[in-house]
Symmetry: none
Subunit: 407 residues, 2 copies
């Protein structure tokens, strides 16, 4: 129900948003939501000692968000797009582009970017390790230099390292198309797949990509375990309406990992240089507090710990966030939102579909009775259960950055 063709959130925001001196903090604790340990009946968040987050929860308003939809396990890209207010179904962004943005590669509108893995193949050409034993980033860079600058049928290749076994391949030339299949078979024991055109206009692209794979195989032959490449997510730059255009914000991103920096750049945030610890990230926000009115601060380690199935480590990272939090609280931002881009329960060792706890604190929120920031307490929160795309509109409202809709 809930009638009719719904308005485009971003169009509405463009219409009613205004600039004001108030400041918003969106703290994203990646993979925040969890599942209870069978021993204690408590999730990672419920296990962690989080006096600062609990105090914010009791002064503020809580709830649960669905990043993409009930039952849907989000990848990091749709998870973050939704947090920034972009419908993840409407704005689908290829993996190649996300990785390229992550290393600030200067993509041109016609470029085609693919995400690459260095991998290991056996003598029969079958993949034995999709990640080539997770070679070092330095090794990756060295191998990329061997492939970078190739020219195939007038198309120039840029091959750039990302991290460990990950790289990007960017194809620049005329008449290219992203409408080709992946070579990455997503499993071992089989050969890399030939790249095929998904429509006749993409024949040239498929040929050039296959030729690149062939040449790469020759070049890498003696570099076992990284003796082959896998490509996926061929894609072209997407023009998203930016957060400054839509929300009239001056947003900054503080994130260590390239991918999140790339997503932030894609929606028009300025990406600030930062160190690798939570404390360093928070200090960067403090140092740049005057220059921006929206801060996206990204904590990666909760998700990594969850993916590793390390319940205790995930809980400890949450505690580390909590104890460093006073640096941010002392800045007294007008609106503070704490949530995640999806759940990553250590029990599942991966992203999951479970809704994610959210807390919103502002002078103008109508508090509920939630006194602890936890999955179970948030069920009874005043925000209820809502799509993640509503977060920025809610934050904007509480920062008094939205004018009235309609007469």
């Amino acid at each position: 129900m809930s009638g009719g063709l719904k308005v485009d959130n971003l169009e509405l925001m463009k219409e009613i948003s205004i600039t004001s001196p108030t400041k918003i903090l969106l703290l994203v604790i990646d993979g925040l939501g969890g599942l209870p340990s069978p021993k204690t009946g408590k999730t990672e968040l419920e296990t962690a000692n989080t006096p600062n987050l609990d105090r914010l929860a009791s002064k503020g308003i809580c709830g649960l968000i669905d990043p993409v939809g009930p039952g849907i396990t989000p990848g990091s890209t749709p998870g973050h797009l939704a947090l920034f207010g972009y419908d993840p179904f409407k704005f689908s962004i290829g993996r190649g582009v996300v990785e390229a943005m992550g290393i600030a590669f200067d993509l041109k509108p016609e470029d085609i970017a693919a995400r690459g893995n260095f991998c290991t193949v056996d003598e029969a050409g079958l993949v034995t390790d999709r990640r080539a034993g997770r070679i070092s980033t330095e090794k990756c860079a060295e191998l990329c230099r061997l492939l970078d600058g190739l020219v195939i049928e007038g198309v120039k290749l840029s091959v750039c390292p990302v991290r460990e076994h990950r790289f990007i391949a960017v194809f620049r030339g005329k008449g290219l198309s992203p409408e080709v299949s992946d070579s990455d078979p997503q499993q071992v024991g089989v050969a890399p797949r030939p790249i095929t055109a998904l429509n006749p206009q993409a024949d040239k692209m498929a040929n050039i990509a296959n030729e690149f794979v062939t040449q790469a195989k020759k070049v890498l032959a003696k570099h076992h375990p990284a003796n082959m490449v896998l490509l996926r997510g061929f894609s072209r730059q997407v023009n998203l309406p930016t957060m400054p255009e839509v929300y009239k914000l001056k947003p900054a991103a503080i994130a260590q990992y390239p991918m999140y920096r790339g997503l932030a750049r894609l929606v028009g945030m300025e990406v600030l240089e930062t160190g690798t610890t939570i404390k360093e990230e928070f200090d960067i926000m403090k140092q740049n507090y005057k220059a921006y009115d929206f801060f996206f601060v990204h904590i990666k380690e909760t998700d990594s710990a969850g993916e590793d199935g390390d319940f205790e480590r995930k809980a400890r990272v949450i505690e580390e966030v909590d104890s460093a939090l006073s640096t941010l609280l002392n800045l007294e931002p007008d609106v503070i939102v704490v949530t995640g881009d999806h759940s990553t329960p250590a029990l599942l060792k991966g992203h999951s579909w479970h809704p994610v706890p959210i807390l919103l604190y502002s002078k103008w929120c109508r508090p509920d009775k939630v006194e602890k920031f936890s999955e179970s307490a948030c069920i009874l929160g005043g925000l209820g259960r809502l799509p993640a795309t509503e977060i920025v509109p809610l934050a904007m409202a509480h920062a008094l950055k939205l004018t009235k809709f309609g007469a």
Copy 2:
């Protein structure tokens, strides 16, 4: 908000609604939702002593509604359209038309209505006061008479007073279009803007509107401070499917203020004459109880008190509603819905985005554990948090006025 092509509520209602002898009361306490007083931690509604509403809440089912969407502060028009089941994004009604309806101006389908302000300009023609010092309604009426009846290129102008400096200008003639820009610059220190056509079909309209402004300036030259006009919200009557058509109801509206009477008329309600007190409004419903099966009863004073920042007065008006309520309860309507069109927290002195408490009482509701009609209690209500457009369908269902959907 929250993407995707949803079913059209009104089409569905048209399909499954039936006429029956049951009666529905929709009591709208304008601006009902509030924010807690820093002193007591209680909102206006929580401060008021409301034994009747609390009894209804404990026998019925409660929840929170978003009139337009999370974070969106509704104007009165979208707020009320949503309460009547109309998607406020789909049915957007221009300011000119709303004001014209408010004074029950008999708009024809081709008429173009604009909202006008008498304003003050200096010798250089720059606006110094957008409201001409809020001249009296009497003065406004006197000035309107000077402009009313002008004919420009065969187009007849009606210029009618609304209240204080506000008036409407209605353009009646052939080949007109609402697709023109405002002359109101929404700020002082600049000249009124020329009205421009937003597409070539609107050239005639823009020319005539500019000529009206030119003539008005001459006529008003000696009437400082009201020596100029500003126009905005050029719009044409919207044809809404009416409530009798959609819901097969015979609806009546009881509201003191012109604007709400206008909105009710727009959706096909019969507007009953009423006095100015809450008690008088309720008595009118009693007197007309047999003739209708849906009653929209509108209480304005809660919103006015909230806009004035008068927390205590808003609480007292809510108490007044509660104590007069027995008149309505004694009629034993089959379904009683009590809610607001938006929140108007006294602390914010204006409409806000906060969700609005709702209670629904009927013999057929599945009660929850809410025992008090308040913002915080409604968080845990059985209706959960829902868009305001679902209210009429829910009321219809509880009145047994909807048949089964599908085989």
